[in-house]
């Protein structure tokens, strides 16, 4: 899953333990990115080939790499998907179903949407090996952050062909 070809090969329903880099952002940061992009035609950070995790971690306890971390509702982020995909994002991670428009966008850009367990934040934090805030520090837990993870549990919910786990 470290390059785009690997990601395209996973079918909806596949479970993966992902090891690698993830960029964290959610509502407030994406709203700012969209404003920035509308004004300047570029982004203040490079998102090419990145995986975006919709999350806002809790405070980091003394001696830990990161605090409790888990997905927030992806559907609220659907309106920012075009922005992400135009700028080279290859995958998104969150919780819950997405809109039909989002499914189409994923398939059009050959990207995957992954679920990771919600309400498992203490457990997921132990799979994070490094953590740094990279942009918008004033947004606190909603700042843009970079983490590297080991054996992070994911399920492909929308695959690059536009198939989803919700079709019966």
């Amino acid at each position: 899953m470290d390059d785009k070809n690997d990601i395209i090969s996973y079918e909806a329903g596949t479970q993966i333990n992902y090891t690698g880099e993830i960029i964290i952002m959610r509502d407030a940061a994406q709203k700012r990115l969209l404003e920035y992009f509308s004004r300047t035609g570029q982004l203040p950070l490079d998102l090419k080939n990145k995986i975006i995790f919709y999350a806002g971690p809790a405070k980091t306890p003394e001696g830990e790499t990161i605090g409790a971390i888990g997905p927030t509702t992806s559907q609220r982020m659907d309106k920012f998907l075009d922005l992400l995909f135009q700028n080279g994002v290859i995958g998104t991670v969150g919780k819950g179903k997405r809109t039909e428009t989002a499914v189409q966008a994923c398939s059009e850009h050959k990207t995957c949407y992954f679920l990771t367990p919600s309400g498992a934040a203490a457990s997921l934090s132990s799979r994070v090996k490094s953590h740094e805030v990279i942009l918008f520090e004033d947004l606190q837990s909603e700042a843009i952050q970079r983490i590297t993870v080991e054996d992070f549990p994911l399920v492909v919910a929308i695959d690059a062909e536009g198939k989803t786990i919700w079709e019966k």
Binding site: A68, A122, Q140
Partner: protein
């Protein structure tokens, strides 16, 4: 009882609700064998071991307080509970999830206040406080429907099931569903929240409502949304209805949901 004693006990209860899995729902989590089941079970253990919250969304705190009219405190319950929340959330590795000004600024308040406090007056000099640690994902599923007075129990049930079917997967199922029926619009919403503080094993005292609770729960489980919205395991722990008299022209129906970890608590302070 003093304000400081109340604050001290509430701080303990708020901390515990964030770290220790609710014993009422633990058997359901233990019994789940589907996707992500190992991580969910491990989470209950790691949270206590590391002193980290079960969920990164440590929510807004909603308090329902029954205060005896003879109980005199040296400050308001709003002040006491704001202090309790701010002190716990500042000291613990929780998340500050409240922003000042909902539309323009949305600047983080850095202490998770204000506490959402609802106060009811009772006889005597005691105090009972129930609370919810309410995450944003489940809160976004709150709904109010102004049904018509001639609505049938089936129509009420269908409305609830339809809503959970459309949106339930976003709210970390299995869900506890609180329903407020009657009163006025805001009264129904409040009742639906108070219903979430009830046990998953409790029922309405009126058998007709208890039947509606049970049948609605079965219909929601038949949707097979499942743990994490992944189609296996139960979808709904319980449906709990609380009702109130209403206007001849209205039938408010309010729905609130709580996520699968059901972070709630109750503290009872006997006489002053």
């Amino acid at each position: 009882m003093t304000s400081d004693q109340i604050k001290r006990e509430m701080k303990k209860a708020i901390r515990k609700a964030n770290l220790e899995i609710n014993p009422e729902v633990k058997p359901y989590i233990d019994a789940y064998e589907g996707t992500f089941s190992q991580v969910l079970k491990e989470n209950c253990r790691v949270a206590v071991e590391k002193g980290m919250p079960l969920c990164q969304d440590t929510g807004l705190l909603e308090f329902f307080c029954w205060k005896g009219r003879e109980l005199i405190l040296d400050r308001t319950l709003q002040d006491i509970l704001d202090e309790a929340v701010a002190e716990v959330y500042t000291a613990e590795p929780f998340r500050y999830s409240s922003v000042a000004d909902p539309l323009f600024d949305r600047k983080n308040r850095m202490n998770d206040t204000p506490a959402m406090v609802h106060l009811f007056e009772t006889e005597g000099d005691g105090l009972k406080i129930r609370f919810l640690v309410k995450g944003g994902g489940s809160e976004n599923l709150s709904r109010l429907y102004m049904m018509t007075p001639s609505s049938t129990p089936e129509e009420i049930q269908n409305k609830i099931v339809e809503h959970i079917g459309e949106a339930g997967a976003r709210s970390c199922p299995p869900l506890k569903v609180g329903v407020g029926l009657g009163g006025t619009s805001e009264k129904a919403m409040l009742l639906s929240k108070m219903a979430l503080t009830e046990s998953v094993h409790s029922h309405h005292a009126d058998e007709r409502y208890a039947t509606l609770e049970r049948e609605t729960k079965e219909a929601i489980n038949a949707l097979q949304v499942g743990f994490q919205g992944l189609g296996t395991g139960m979808t709904c722990y319980s449906v709990r209805i609380m009702d109130c008299a209403t206007h001849i022209a209205t039938l408010p129906l309010a729905i609130s949901v709580d996520c699968y970890i059901c972070r709630t608590g109750e503290v009872i302070f006997e006489n002053g």
